[in-house]
Amino acid sequence: MLRDFKYHYKIPLSLTLVIAVTALVVSATLTLLAYQNAKRELISNALGLGKVLSRTLLPAMLHDEPWQAYEIVATPLEIRTERGAAERVIVVLDAKNQVYVSSSPMRFPMLERLGAVDPEFGVIEKRVAGQSNDEAFTAEESDWQYIHVVVPILAEDGARLGTLIVASSHSLFLPQFYAALGGVALSTLAVLVVLLPIGWYWGRRMAEPLEYLAESMAKVGREPIEELRRGLPRSGDEVGMLGKGFDRMLQELEEKKAMEKQMLASERLAAIGRLTAGISHEINNPLGGMLNAISTYKKHGSGDALTMKTLSLLERGLLQIRETVGALLVEARLESHALTAQDIEDARTLVTPEAQKKGAQLVWRNEIAEPLPLPSTQVRQILLNLLLNAVAATEHRGRLECSVSRVNGSLRMSIANDGRQISRERLDHLYEPFAAQGEAAVGGSGIGLWVTYQLVQQLNGRIDTDSRPGGTTFTVELPIDT
């Protein structure tokens, strides 16, 4: 039950609980102290009163003047009579422990035995009777109405004339206790009012990163990883460590996914390559035979005009098939010379008119200084293909960028246009032949990028596409054998 309770509530509640319990314990302690203080004060008060009275009573007891004795014990209580309840009772016992006088003569009549009036006072009477010394003492029990302070009345020579009992009701110190209690309650309340919101806020702040982490983890697979990685806790504590760990996991996951996707794409492209190569060979062999047959017939045959026309038609169709198949089957062609800066400039020359037709600006950066050991024909074709694609993709009066440079051990060609972003679906099948069909194809026969890809593959290079709103950049890196 408690384990299923969310940290969102658990931490603030725990803090709140700790604050509340602390405040309660402190106020309970203070209350107890206030109670004990009030009681102690009451007892010392009663003791002081008893000692004064016992001395004042001495002449009245000696001369046997009950009225005088009554006036002495009644006077200190007169101030309080308005309160009504018998909060304090003073009883004077004679030497025989009978009531000599009391402040409440109706309740404790003269010459009465205390035990006959009130069992509580009966206990006091017994203790007085059993007392071996002449010391003052205090008596109280939890279920008693009064706290009793008992003071002996001694003559000058030490003879015991009687005993004075000052019985103080618990209600006497209650007002003082309640006042203290009120103070304690008020300050506890103030402390709680200040600390509870702080505790709650603090708890929420502690729980927040954990919550965010939990929520983010729950979203893995449903929301883009980029999104999830944003806002993860990165503090130095355990939660921050969790956040960093989770971030690393997400990053690895992202890389793995990208790699998988890339592998899938290149595997697919390789399969297509194998397929087209196979089909091309299978087509080329009979095609060669058929073309030879037509050529032979045209040379030696005696065909009429219709036959010649038909054969010519067949020949043109077969030649187109061969051309198409040849284009699909990108073969390492004839040996070509090493790549020079001029080869790159040639591409520029070729593409400039196309760019001008569209009113596009071409930014050119050619940093090749010396010939590179790369087959110039293939590189030129790659560059040209990509440049023509870029011109086609760019907006009217757009901007094209081409930069060719040597980076470490590679030739890097980067061709950028400011055309529309390529859609995700299209991007997944970008290099496949005829993939653009059914969609607004960007010119060409639909095999330009396929050919480019095949050429790059043959040169052990790699080609990357980065398409975002505002433009697309193709980057080709070709390793240079040294």
Partner: protein
């Protein structure tokens, strides 16, 4: 500095007084036969007397009738307001100066009072085994009169009551009965009636269970050795109080109608009680 200053002032005031008033103060002893614990009243009465006598007047208060009686016997007091027994027993040293008039007569009664909650007690006989309060052994209403009544009923107060005690003042008898310290008490009827006017909440806690026959009102006496002119002056002053406004105001506070010169015949009843109870 301050005690010195005070002593100096006292000397100046004393010499001034003796020069201007040209005589010693008249000393008057009071007892609780009336409510002598009202200091402001005594002050007013003192000024009233000083104006008319042309002499300083000092009121002297003591804890019991006996102490006042002793002071008169030693000529240390010129006048005293005492109860009739001390006067009757000390006529060798005292002369009658005046007798107050209450409800028009120089007479009063002794009351037996019980707590208001006691609805059954009608006489002393009903108070066997109870605690009883007397005011003063030298008082008629607070001791002699009830003793006489008890003796008539063959009651010995020393064994009949569980306990009896003196409060040394009539007002305190009322208080003792009111708070329940005593279940019965004997009080000057005049004092009880006056208290009912001044402190009705106190007398309301008591009930008058029995009233004695009428007796001569506690008199104002003078020491026998007093100068006849002073005695006459004082007698004129007291008797004349009812004839002027200031005097009547003071009398109203005392709940008295005035003073008359009176005579010993008024106290025959008390005298009989003294013989009956004490064999005098």
């Amino acid at each position: 500095m301050r005690p010195l200053l005070r002593a100096l002032l006292f000397c100046v005031a004393f010499s001034f007084a003796s020069n201007v008033l040209a005589s010693d103060p008249i000393r008057i002893g009071t007892t609780p036969v009336f409510l002598d614990d009202q200091a402001s009243f005594l002050g007013a009465w003192q000024r009233y007397m000083e104006q008319r006598l042309g002499r300083p007047v000092r009121f002297v208060q003591r804890g019991s009738y006996r102490e006042i009686t002793e002071l008169v016997r030693e000529d240390q007091l010129d006048f005293a307001w005492v109860c009739s027994p001390p006067y009757l027993r000390n006529r060798d040293r005292m002369v009658l100066a005046a007798v107050p008039l209450h409800r028009g007569k120089p007479l009063y009664q002794s009351y037996l009072i019980v707590p208001a909650g006691d609805r059954t007690t009608k006489s002393f006989a009903d108070l066997r085994g109870k605690v009883y309060a007397f005011s003063d052994p030298d008082s008629n209403s607070g001791w002699l009169a009830p003793q006489t009544e008890m003796r008539h009923q063959h009651i010995d107060s020393s064994t009949f009551f569980k306990r009896s005690f003196f409060t040394w003042a009539h007002k305190k008898v009322v208080e003792a009965v009111a708070v329940g310290l005593a279940q019965g008490g004997s009080v000057d009827g005049y004092v009880w009636e006056t208290l009912q006017l001044l402190h009705p909440e106190l007398t309301a806690k008591t009930r008058v269970a029995w009233k004695s026959p009428w007796y001569g009102f506690p008199p104002i006496i003078a020491r026998r050795s007093i100068a006849p002119t002073v005695l006459a002056q004082m007698q004129d002053l007291l008797v004349g109080m009812k004839d002027d406004e200031d005097g009547r105001r003071l009398l109203r506070q005392l709940d008295l109608d005035g003073f008359e010169r009176g005579n010993d015949a008024l106290f025959e009843g008390v005298e009989k009680n003294l013989k009956y109870v004490l064999g005098l």
